[in-house]
Subunit: 407 residues, 2 copies
């Protein structure tokens, strides 16, 4: 006989019933570790549970330790209860956890605190039955969510394409759709190795929902790309926060789910919501440039750190139009071709290494004096003053533009 066969008004009522039967505190989470319901009886409660209830989500530190300990992978693999030993550094007491399944998908988890005595087989069976019964209750939530999700997706695309002329409209829409409005934001893109499958979509959703490094009020998936709206908590260090989040997202996708992300990119941080489209464009520019200049931009994600590559699209357009042919560079190329020398490579490397003689010589495998000699020749043949920033800049950009052409 199933003790949960009765009708429950709410999930809270269900949680209380489970707690009553098992004589311990119960917490129910969705697949993304957001709090769905918890029992209210007066029992001992560990700090991790208290924090979860207060913030309506499991703290990220706790989630991370659970992954590290292998608990969550186990929960995602089987329908059996999992015993979790105390993890005192995150305030987690002894626990019993079980996943809630529908078909092959995990809808959520039930967490029980293991009080003084170890659980009996009977108690574990009871928990399994509870997990089965929770399924239907969770499904109802799910359906309500999905409908809303679709409308939110549409809204996000409108934002990305600059559909809203005034910020008021955006904020109004946010309120209607129950999307939290943050003071600062940026648009980011993750480029995946492959088309993003449904399973990966769930894993993305999981990571985005569980992270607490910054808020991700909106995201969408488009072929091989994941587009996110991120809201760092501070304006001044926003860039750095997003940067860190992007790196951890990429490593977590890899380590936890074995999903490779080729690269991430994000635009500037803005305050006005009409600038979402601009931030999105900037993120796209970063991706484009990273593809064209993989080596120098390997560690760049933010538009701010794109440096001079920010305006390469513009310059390249002009160059294709036949403008700025650089006589100095042409002379150097010609000299290289006629004398089998490497003057262009030399000056490019030299500038890549910020005019540092030692490093450049090392990179080119030549003696520093050889480098000095070549630089002298370069300034002669190209008629360039290598101690003039403006000329150096022009030459550097022209060389890089040449490479861009070939992409």
């Amino acid at each position: 006989m199933n003790p949960f066969a009765t009708h429950f008004e709410s999930l809270e009522e269900f949680a209380d019933r489970v707690s009553e039967l098992l004589q311990c505190p119960i917490t129910i989470e969705d697949a993304n570790h957001r709090l769905i319901a918890y029992s209210g009886h007066e029992h001992y409660t560990d700090p991790a549970r208290t924090a979860t209830i207060i913030h309506r989500r499991v703290p990220e530190r706790v989630i991370n330790s659970l992954w590290r300990e292998g608990v969550i992978p186990k929960l995602l693999q089987s329908e059996e209860p999992v015993r979790v030993a105390e993890i005192s550094e995150v305030g987690l007491g002894n626990r019993i956890a079980i996943s809630i399944w529908r078909n092959k998908e995990v809808l959520g988890f039930i967490w029980a605190i293991e009080m003084n005595e170890p659980w009996t087989e009977q108690q574990l069976d009871l928990l399994k039955q509870a997990a089965k019964s929770a399924k239907n209750l969770l499904l109802q939530l799910q359906i309500r969510k999905n409908k809303k999700e679709e409308r939110i997706q549409e809204f996000f695309w409108k934002l990305l394409t600059g559909h809203f002329p005034s910020p008021h409209e955006v904020i109004e829409q946010c309120h209607q759709l129950n999307v939290h409005v943050y003071p600062f934001f940026s648009v980011g893109i993750f480029q995946f190795q492959q088309h993003i499958q449904t399973q990966v979509e769930r894993q993305i959703d999981y990571l985005l929902k569980t992270t607490q490094q910054l808020a991700v009020p909106l995201y969408t998936i488009d072929h091989q790309r994941l587009i996110v709206l991120v809201a760092p908590s501070s304006n001044i260090y926003g860039e750095a926060h997003i940067e860190r989040f992007f790196r951890s997202f990429i490593t977590q996708m890899k380590e936890r789910f074995r999903v490779d992300i080729m690269m991430g990119a994000f635009g500037n941080v803005y305050e006005c919501y009409t600038k979402i489209a601009k931030s999105y464009e900037e993120a796209q520019t970063v991706l484009k440039m990273k593809r064209a200049f993989p080596h120098p931009l390997a560690n760049i994600q933010g538009y701010q750190h794109l440096g001079m590559y920010q305006f390469f699209d513009l310059l390249f357009e002009k160059k294709r139009h036949g403008d700025f042919h650089n006589v100095a560079l042409e002379n150097l190329k010609q000299y290289d071709a006629q004398h089998h020398t490497n003057l262009v490579e030399t000056i490019e490397t030299y500038l890549d290494y910020d005019s540092n003689v030692n490093e450049t010589a090392k990179a080119l495998n030549i003696h520093p004096n050889t480098l000095a000699y070549r630089l002298k020749r370069i300034s002669e043949i190209g008629n360039i003053d290598l101690s003039n920033m403006s000329e150096k800049v022009k030459l550097y950009i022209d060389m890089k533009l040449d490479k861009y052409r070939t992409t």
Copy 2:
């Protein structure tokens, strides 16, 4: 009784007659020291005269010494004969010269070689009469020239505005107008302090016609600007030749005629005649940038050496559109405002001096260690890697663009 009252078939005939009467070699030049006629009698001839006859113009070295010795200024001031002592380093023997006048304008010169004996008063009078008679003969030449000149002016403006789609048409027109076609060319502009008066026009014409540093097949005057088509003799060192010519033109205008030229500028050297319009635009860009950045571009005249300023128009357009606001720079500005520091000035000067610590410190009147400290702070506050060329370039350009805005 005037011995030159008869009709002369040609200027040569006239020159011979003068030579006969004075018993010495006679050379007649126009106002720009081009050979118009010379006597053919067998007399002693100094090397300067020989060279003049062979090249159909007075060698530039000779003209320059005549200016230096004050001969030409004297000729341009009075109608009296001028005695010229030997200038052996340019092969010029003892001479008597006189200018040919119409109203207040000098049309040309008559040169006589003073043979063994000094001239008598009678001989000098004869020369004065010859100069008077030469006037009418020269005037006829002048009128024929002026008509052609107008059509050439129109042609040049068509070239500057890109009116001809194919080079063949250009070359055909050149042949029709008797304009020499050169293999390489560039368009240059001189910006004068004031509107160019008729008198200055003649002085310009004089300098352009007498120079032999490079060919100036076409030129025109437009308000405060003189626009020239220059044809350097070599392609490889074309830039340098034009550069030198521009400098000497400016100093000569100043020294000889007390006319101030604010600046000169010229575009790239091209081979195809349809690119005249482009070279002209480039020259205009140089002028524009020199106006906006007088200090760093004080010594720049050629478009090739504009360096990064070549594309500032383009970038500024984009910037005005609201793109690339540089968070690093904004942070630095804010810090400067709040703490009464000079970080922006510091980094700008540092980059102006090509990252040279000593020079920068000297320019800013601070201790090198102070500079080092400030640079550390700059990289912290702006979150900039100052050993990354691309970031430096971006920052430098953004700072200079900021200055461009205020122009």
